[in-house]
């Protein structure tokens, strides 16, 4: 009958407190956000501007080997941007939710808690990547990778400034739709492969939701494509030189906004994970880095879907250039800055929606997609076609 000695109260000395880690420090936070934004901008300038300019000026792109190295470096940089964006957005979202909810948010790691995500990532790396007994091992491991890869595939086609795009695809819009649909596969397969009932329910919901919302999303994108006369994203941005698409394309804009929140699986459309109903849904059984991949993918999408809102409807990189030559490097860097600022505003709006609304029910979700958004999107498509004819005739 031996018993562990219990720590008695008198043994616990009060810690000397000269520094309160929960004291709000808005100055530090503001500085950190500025640095985050600056580093992201710098990374974008390097990835989209400096590296291609270097390769082009040296003529390395002509050879097969040079092109190969260029592709590898660009892929690594795209991955870096995705990772940095996710790391930044996670802590920003948590800080922002803290602001909305009248609390301070994470405060303990780094000054004012701004390094929280880094420590989270280290913790997740160190965790055992546990898989329950009756999972399908191959698909269980593959699913997070599919979701993450699909998220950062989209990054490749997004133009951040005039001439600054990793792959200037002439079917950019279709590529976006295809890549985001691929993400749904990861979620559905991940839910089904884990062999649990909650995961299965989550996968059913995810399948229904993501596939349904692809349709209005694609139609809204198509309307933009019809109106601007091109599927190439940089052409679409160029087309908004005079007038941002949000004015003539307001209906597709609304459809795209709702559908992209649904694609993002954030409230009010977070049914596939629905932690209060399905205990996490499709990611119930995931832990460690497998979970982190789903998590990172979600936050990369939280950056990319607002970025697409900006590209398609809010003039992309357009902004006052103060007399700079649009083809000059400085002008392009400024354009990418405008692009990032607009994107940040839309990320904030997405976060705001996430902080405010309760969740829809599954049948209401389907009703909204098929009875509300789909007719609206079709109407928007027809409208876009008429507007296009009008523009061409006049």
């Amino acid at each position: 009958m031996s018993r562990m000695p219990l720590p008695l109260d008198r043994h616990i000395k009060p810690k000397l407190v000269g520094y309160d880690p929960t004291r709000p420090r808005p100055g530090v936070e503001r500085l950190a956000y500025t640095l985050f934004f600056g580093s992201l901008w710098a990374l974008v300038v390097v990835a989209y501007g400096l590296v291609p300019a270097l390769f082009r000026s040296q003529g390395w792109l002509d050879g097969a080997l040079g092109f190969f190295f260029y592709a590898v470096i660009e892929a690594l940089l795209a991955f870096g941007i995705a990772a940095v964006v996710a790391l930044i957005l996670i802590v920003v979202l948590r800080k922002y939710l803290g602001k909305v909810q009248e609390r301070v948010g994470p405060m303990h790691y780094g000054p004012a808690g701004v390094l929280q995500t880094v420590f989270d990532a280290l913790k997740l790396l160190g965790k055992e990547d546990f898989a329950p007994a009756n999972v399908d091992p191959l698909i269980f491991r593959l699913a997070p990778a599919i979701t993450f890869v699909s998220a950062f595939l989209m990054l490749v086609a997004v133009p951040v400034a005039g001439g600054w795009v990793m792959a200037d695809l002439n079917v950019g819009l279709l590529f976006i739709v295809a890549a985001s649909t691929l993400g749904a596969y990861g979620v559905v397969l991940g839910g089904l492969a884990q062999g649990g009932k909650w995961g299965m329910l989550g996968a059913f919901r995810a399948g229904a939701q993501l596939v349904s919302y692809e349709v209005p999303l694609a139609l809204a994108l198509l309307a933009v494509g019809v109106y601007s006369g091109s599927l190439r994203l940089s052409d679409i941005v160029e087309h908004q030189q005079g007038l941002w698409h949000v004015v003539p394309m307001f209906i597709p804009f609304l459809v795209y906004l709702v559908a992209s929140i649904a694609e993002l699986k954030s409230t009010p459309f977070d049914l596939p994970e629905a932690e209060s109903e399905l205990i996490g849904g499709f990611n119930t059984e995931y832990s460690g880095m497998s979970f982190a991949f789903f998590f990172l993918a979600e936050f990369v999408e939280l950056f990319l879907l607002p970025a697409l809102v900006v590209v398609l409807f809010f003039g992309g990189w357009h902004g006052p250039l103060f007399g700079l030559d649009p083809a000059s490097f400085a002008a392009q860097a400024l354009q990418s800055f405008y692009f990032l600022v607009k994107t940040a505003v839309w990320v904030w709006i997405f976060m705001w929606i996430r902080a405010t609304l309760p969740r829809f029910r599954d049948d209401q979700l389907m009703d909204l997609a098929w009875k509300g958004l789909l007719p609206l999107a079709l109407f928007g498509l027809i409208l876009a076609a008429f507007l296009r004819m009008f523009v061409e005739v006049v």
Binding site: K197, L201, S276, T356, P358, R359, R361, D362, D363
Partner: protein, 374 residues
Amino acid sequence: MRGPTQILPTDRADEMLINMGPQHPATHGVLKVVIGLEGERVTRAVPHIGFLHRNHEKIEEARTYPQIITYTDRMDYVSGLQNELPFILAVEDLLGVEVPDRAKYLRVIFFELYRLASHLVWLGTGMLDFGAITPFLYTFRDRERILEIVEKTAGARMLPNYFTFGGVRRDVHPDFFKDVADFLDFFEKRLPDYYALVLDSPVFQARAVGVGVLPKERAIARGASGPVLRASGVAYDVRKAEPYDAYPEIEFEVPVREEGDVYARFWVRFKEMEESIKIIRQAIEKTPKVGPYKGKVPARMKVKGSRYRAVEISRGHLGAHVVGDGTDRPYRIKHRSPSFANLQLIPDLLVGARFADAIAILSSLDPVFGEVDR
């Protein structure tokens, strides 16, 4: 391991049985519901309770009467103080103790403060079930102010053990009335925010209106009480039906709604919070400024007889049946808890609903498992 009744093997190919709980986040504790799902539609719901069973009633048989009060706190731990009252009232009846006026009003103030605290917890956790995280933190922050006020006087926050036979245990802190008045002013300004976030939110209304409808007759027959009963159109409130303490002298309304759906239950609780504010304001005004806070109670309590008393706590009709055999320990105490009776409605309400509705219905019943399992 809960025996052979736990697993009901399903004989239908299109039905999936799923164990919701006892560790499910939306069961607010340790409820387990075996739910049959056909797609997203609930085909059966079998509740299992008892995971938090401590057999209070047996423990209390071995304690003296003053010792028991602290156990009653631990039933509905969300509205801790309110649980003390039915037991105390029953013993006071059996002993013939007179409660001074000041104590009666103090009891009313504390009782209603805890109703506010409890409804705030319900609102936050209930909205968490609806997928909205923000109200949770707002409500807990407001509740914290109530608990701080109580702590100043009673010395504890959730389970203060403050009421006692013949009145309250000690006089209130000098700042008490000012603190309460300040809080009420503050809280009145907060209520519109809650209306905007919850009741007036179109997404919430889409989720709640017409969901989990409980007909009036069924609610009465099942012994439902509190907001669940009043949302079904029955104006049964123990504060009006069998008034206790200072409630007869206070004017307030009993909010009733006819629909009986989740929205009505939310609405009733919202209106109850407004009524509580009114009640506390009146009580503060009417509390005698001086006077004893505790009546004369025999030093050695020897209770004989049987008495059932009920009060209206945040969740409904909480009763205590005290049987004394003339010694200083009770012969038998039975606690009639409102959530226990309300949870009998699970099969009535859940079957036929969608799975997401099932969560919403459970949160609108607002069970607290400390009192269900006792």
